[in-house]
């Protein structure tokens, strides 16, 4: 059984310099109440791992605006000019990772794998400084696993033991990030009694979830 956590208590766990994975794709399936609480608390020099930074004023974009992000590992910042400007000015160090590579790196970090061997990125700036390994005569790029201190994820339903499911395109990175952080905090649209989510409907087992955010007022 989990204890419901208030957003400010969740944010209080996240110290300066923490590495934080955040689910969502252009703000869809992001944990918006957790993001707002993090903006209020404003820990310094965060490393954020996320697919994108949405837009200014939306989802992870709010963390960019708040100036609390030092390093960003992401696949896309094209719709957030503020992130681009801070990258160009040097305020934020941005590591761009192809989207499929990014999600596999997180999965590898959460699954005890030593890395990801992929053809994506070969012959592009993505390969710079990375090891290329030939397997049966074919070249693959070795991409390293990613883990974080915290994963802030959004779900559709959570039950009292932390089992989660997701809705439509709000799955995205959430179930994968749940594997790859020391502390996983889940913000769900609704919280339901144990058994409401049947075993075959659970997409993230509660054993992976450290805390469930209290229900919205």
């Amino acid at each position: 059984m989990k204890n419901a956590l208030k957003p400010e208590a969740a944010a209080a766990l996240i110290a300066d310099g923490a590495t934080v994975m955040i689910g969502g794709f252009m703000g869809v399936g992001s944990p918006h109440r957790l993001i707002d609480a993090l903006v209020d608390r404003a820990p310094k020099n965060l490393t954020i791992i996320a697919n994108d930074t949405a837009q200014p004023g939306v989802g992870i974009g709010k963390l960019i605006t708040a100036g609390i992000v030092q390093t960003l590992i992401t696949s896309h910042i094209g719709l957030n000019p503020e992130t681009q400007a801070k990258m160009i000015s040097g305020e934020i160090a941005v590591e761009l990772s192809p989207q499929g590579t990014l999600v596999e790196r997180i999965r590898a970090g959460g699954s005890g794998l030593g890395g990801v061997l992929t053809q994506t990125g070969l012959g592009t700036p993505v390969e710079d400084g990375k090891q290329i390994i030939a397997i049966n005569g074919v070249d693959y790029l070795l991409e390293t696993p990613l883990r974080a201190d915290f994963a802030l994820i959004a779900a559709n339903e959570a039950d009292y033991v932390g089992n989660l499911n997701y809705a439509l395109t709000a799955h995205n990175f959430n179930p994968i990030m749940a594997l790859a952080a020391d502390t996983v905090i889940a913000e769900a649209q609704t919280i339901v009694p144990v058994g409401v989510i049947p075993p075959d409907g659970v997409k993230t087992p509660g054993v992976l979830v450290s805390h469930v955010l209290e229900r919205a007022a």
């Binding site: 794709f25 252009m26 703000g27 869809v28 399936g29 697919n51 994108d52 992401t74 696949s75 896309h76 910042i77 094209g78 719709l79 681009q84 990258m87 160009i88 761009l96 192809p98 989207q99 499929g100 590579t101 999600v103 596999e104 999965r107 992929t118 053809q119 994506t120 990125g121 070969l122 012959g123 592009t124 700036p125 993505v126 559709n156 997701y166 809705a167 439509l168 395109t169 709000a170 799955h171 995205n172 990175f173 959430n174 179930p175 994968i176 997409k203």
Partner: protein, 243 residues
């Protein structure tokens, strides 16, 4: 050189991008799983007719992407890769990003249609960054080009009058993989071991106008036919005057 099609007022939606989309739509076969990039490629869905059992995938996590829902019925948890509201067709499936890219990278995607900034004479695409100007990140583009069974580039033939098909790309490549087809409003070009083959010319175009707008050698077997545009309402393509 800027391409402008002077279309009848009542058909004003038939701009070069619609010609491209209609021609790309001819490439879509029944039973395919197809990913359409945002922007121009997403128009392709509007030109399919008589093609059954096609599933559109959006890399953010839906197989069976459908049209924009009726006003007021949009679901904030159902969007395309550009963040726009979509619906889902009967038989749709929700997937997470890991499965989404397992499909893309594992060769399960029959076709992807992507926009392009440049394509080189080896058929290699550059479409994700303009150093110093545009830093969008590659999103899923590198995965799509590296992994899809068939990569179709849908782009205007030139940008601000300058050819986008070039001997060598000036922009960073998206992948080493040779794309399978390039469709512009002026031409259909198939990259091959031997080079870029001019397969069709656009409405009102000739081999000469295409060559003049291209900065790479094109191989020409026979006189290339005019682009098949049966998916554009009949007559419209013919009415489109040359630039």
């Amino acid at each position: 050189m800027t391409i402008t099609l002077e279309l009848p007022a009542s058909k004003s939606s038939f701009n070069p991008k619609d010609i491209i989309a209609a021609r790309v739509a001819e490439e879509v076969r029944s039973g395919m799983l197809v990913n359409l990039g945002i922007g121009l490629p997403s128009r392709v869905a509007g030109f399919l007719a008589g093609v059954e059992d096609v599933f559109f995938q959006a890399e953010n996590g839906v197989i069976g992407l459908g049209a924009r829902p009726p006003e007021g019925m949009e679901d904030p948890f159902l969007t395309d890769a550009g963040g726009g509201f979509v619906s889902a067709v009967p038989g749709a499936a929700s997937i997470d990003s890991a499965i989404s890219f397992a499909l893309i990278r594992g060769g399960h995607l029959d076709m992807t249609v992507l926009g392009g900034l440049e394509v080189d004479s080896d058929g290699r695409l550059a479409n994700w960054t303009v150093p110093g100007k545009m830093v969008p990140g590659m999103g899923g583009a590198m995965d799509l080009v590296a992994g899809a069974r068939r990569v179709v580039v849908a782009m205007t033939h030139t940008a601000k009058g300058k050819p986008k098909i070039k001997e060598t790309c000036s922009l960073p490549l998206t992948a080493l993989r040779r794309v399978d087809l390039i469709v512009t409003e002026m031409a259909v070009i198939e990259p091959s071991d031997a080079g870029l083959i001019l397969r069709e010319v656009g409405p009102g175009q000739t081999v000469e106008t295409v060559l003049a707008a291209t900065d790479a050698s094109l191989l020409i077997d026979e006189e290339p036919p005019e682009m098949s545009l049966r998916l554009l309402p009949i007559g419209i393509a013919k009415e489109s005057p040359a630039p």
